[in-house]
């Protein structure tokens, strides 16, 4: 192991961690909003819109993310230039924007499926009960349906988000300077592949571990109403008794 290299380049790689995190969080927020819109539009079954939506979702689910990144990277500037032929801004749009758009829309189409399933899981009687209490549609959605659907959707959204963090590494191929690209470039200088990629692996593993844990905490908080309030931590004695009971 080339310790000198590790000590020198680890801070350099870490200094681009905010870019990776920014990519992941901004795309995720974008994906959640668009995904929610997608799923609502899908439910409404508006003639032409829903067909276009189905094609879009199918594209984002069936084509590898990397190919989507390339397509967006070359297609969007062309479309923009043909719309605004004399704009100087288009050439200066940073690659990050295309990456966020692609990752966001990609995950929005997965999120829309998750939301759809979550909405379906809430019993129709809940909406009816809310209407019978003279709630408006929006009130029923906001106070009754969304909180319940959200709890159902959360575990799936967590794994979607963990996948998104990994997919941000693909942005390095289209020239977004984040931790993977930094690691690759630093490795290429002195052929320190092993050290560099172990560092990258470590950063990604720690990142997904922390976020996975945090999300599980949120899941148990948000889902607490389903079990009738927050669970008190069980004493060791009780746990032992349960274990023995299970064994029998």
């Amino acid at each position: 192991m080339n310790l000198k290299y590790i000590i020198k380049s680890f801070p350099q790689i870490l200094s681009y961690l905010p870019v990776t995190l920014m990519l992941a969080f901004v795309s995720e927020v974008f994906a959640l909003v668009v995904g929610l819109v997608f799923s609502v539009l899908k439910r409404k079954r508006i003639p032409v819109v829903s067909q276009i939506l189905a094609v879009c979702i199918s594209y984002f689910r069936a084509v590898p993310t990397l190919v989507q990144l390339f397509v967006a990277f070359y297609a969007i500037p062309r479309v923009l230039t043909s719309l605004f032929p004399d704009s100087a801004v288009i050439a200066n749009i940073p690659n990050v924007v295309y990456a966020i758009l692609t990752l966001g829309l990609n995950h929005a189409s997965y999120a829309s499926e998750i939301f759809r399933a979550a909405f379906d899981s809430v019993d129709a009687g809940q909406t009816e009960a809310a209407y019978s209490l003279n709630m408006t549609r929006w009130q029923a959605l906001r106070h009754i349906i969304l909180p319940q659907a959200f709890v159902v959707a959360l575990p799936n959204l967590t794994s979607l988000f963990l996948g998104l963090i990994q997919e941000t590494s693909l942005a390095s191929i289209v020239g977004v300077r984040e931790i993977t690209m930094t690691g690759i470039q630093l490795a290429d200088i002195g052929y320190d592949f092993l050290e560099s990629y172990i560092m990258l692996t470590l950063i990604y593993e720690v990142l997904s571990f922390i976020i996975g844990r945090a999300m599980r905490l949120i899941e148990s908080r948000v889902g607490s109403f389903r079990r009738g309030g927050l669970e008190k931590p069980k004493s060791r004695f009780l746990r032992l008794r349960e274990k023995q009971a299970d064994a029998v």
């Binding site: 594209y59 084509v63 590898p64 990994q166 390095s172 990258l200 990604y204 593993e205 571990f209």
Partner: protein
């Protein structure tokens, strides 16, 4: 950046050209699928083991694979691991690139396959095994004749998803110079002096799209055929 006007008419031509590399993608995917299923089955079996260390190792492996981006895994195993072996005195430069890539893909998908198998076996009622054992079947017979056919039906939908994910994953093979669909597309771009990038990538997207669409349809059909006449759980 090229400023050539976009010509959609070129896309079919590029589709045919890129499809020349289809056999490579197919071999990569099928071989990785077989090895991945084998590793996944071992992991799933390990996670049901009565020995705690075995279970811990299996779950540690699965968590590790789930936490690492496939791209980084490819770099780590393809560029990093041979360096490690070299320092230990083993030369790995003779290993075939494609075979190596297949193993890396298999490792990348093994975690997902093991989770799929695990959850589908857990979905089968314990009473099925007990009943099979009570009529004198051996454990292996009970597994092969009673549990497996039922678990397979449960796993079929997610098997399709996992295979589609694997096919999309093979597009990363180009980073180490494998000429699969993606690699071929990039070669075509370079030969054409990088003037037709959008057309080539759109052609590539069309190919993947068609492939995954067909697979999804096939999978849906298989699920319908296989679960025909069975009680639906929902």
């Amino acid at each position: 950046m090229s400023n050539q006007p976009f010509k959609a008419g070129l896309i079919p031509e590029y589709v045919i050209k890129i499809l020349g590399a289809f056999p490579t993608t197919l071999i990569l995917a099928v071989a990785a699928l077989i090895i991945g299923i084998a590793i996944g089955a071992c992991l799933a079996a390990a996670s049901f083991s009565t020995k705690k260390p075995v279970r811990v190792i299996a779950s540690g492996y699965i968590h590790f694979i789930r936490g690492i981006p496939p791209l980084v895994l490819i770099y780590l195993l393809y560029l990093g691991f041979p360096q490690l072996m070299k320092r230990l005195g083993v030369d790995m430069s003779a290993v075939d690139k494609k075979a190596y890539m297949i193993v890396i893909f298999a490792i990348a998908i093994s975690a997902g396959f093991s989770e799929m198998m695990r959850s589908s076996f857990l979905a089968i009622d314990k009473g099925q095994t007990e009943a099979a054992l009570s009529i004198g079947m051996t454990k292996l017979q009970a597994f092969r004749r009673i549990v497996f056919p039922q678990a397979f039906g449960v796993a079929l939908p997610s098997l399709g998803n996992n295979i589609i994910m694997l096919i999309k994953l093979t597009s990363l093979g180009f980073v180490i110079g494998i000429v699969d669909l993606m690699g071929k597309a990039r070669i075509i771009i370079t030969i054409g002096y990088r003037t037709r990038m959008l057309e080539v990538y759109l052609a590539l997207a069309v190919i993947y799209w068609a492939m995954c669409f067909l697979l999804e349809r096939l999978n849906k059909h298989l699920v319908r055929v296989y679960t025909k006449g069975k009680k639906q759980t929902q």
